[in-house]
Amino acid sequence: MLTVQFLARYRESLQCESEQLPWQEQWQTVDDVRQFLIARSGPWTVLEDPRIMCARNQDVCSLQEPLQAGDELALFPMVTGG
């Protein structure tokens, strides 16, 4: 299982805050999961955003970060705090 959270603009576009995905053996990195979601097409193409950010288990990481079953992945647009 992989928990995926969508934040801010992505959450609104997808009308989805969080999703549990059955773990797939071919997933190696964050980007593999992102491509899997984009392939759903329609609103999911919002994840093609070139400035997309992600966090694995609540630590900001790159799209090349390795994933494993049980991880919590968050996908979110470029941050704008401060």
Binding site: L7, V79, T80, G81
Partner: protein, 156 residues
């Protein structure tokens, strides 16, 4: 050494005075306060909403604070950030760094802001008379944060 994320308003002046009151031996305190602008290109802005990622926000800020403490000889480093609805002209963020000498406090305060702007999970949404929109991230913030990594490589 506080990290606070709160919906309640805060008083930057009281925060500055608390830094010095709480730490012995402080010679220099540098603060940064970010405010909701009270005039803007789009005069129709009525309110700002700050979304964050509750599970991660304080952890992300503590990581940035700890990296500053590793890089510079600080006495203290404090980060306070509002979330939820904010009115025009209200303070959004307050960062204070204290040290024996000023150069460390200046560098660390700017470093914390540059990293907060690019790594802490906050998103601004502007509510205007004609609707709401998410504020776009700025490449200038990404560049500002990248400067510290370049400086780091040079000195290694």
């Amino acid at each position: 050494m506080s990290i606070r994320v709160q919906t309640a308003p805060f008083d930057p002046g009281a925060e500055l005075n608390a830094v010095h009151a709480g730490e012995l031996g402080v010679g220099a305190v540098v603060t940064f306060t970010g405010y909701v602008r009270d005039i803007n290109q789009d005069a129709a802005i009525e309110e700002l909403f700050l979304e964050h990622f509750p599970g991660m926000t304080e952890k992300a800020l503590a990581k940035i604070r700890d990296e500053a403490l590793q890089r510079w000889p600080l006495i203290g480093a404090h980060i306070l950030h509002r979330v939820g609805p904010l009115s025009l002209a209200e303070p959004i963020v307050f960062v204070a760094t204290s040290s024996m000498h000023r150069s460390a406090a200046f560098a660390a305060c700017e470093f914390i802001m540059d990293y907060l702007k690019t790594r802490a999970p906050f998103w601004k949404k502007e509510h205007t008379t004609t609707g709401s929109h998410w504020v776009d991230g700025r490449d200038s913030d990404t560049l500002a944060a990248a400067r510290w990594e370049a400086a780091d490589k040079e000195t290694r």
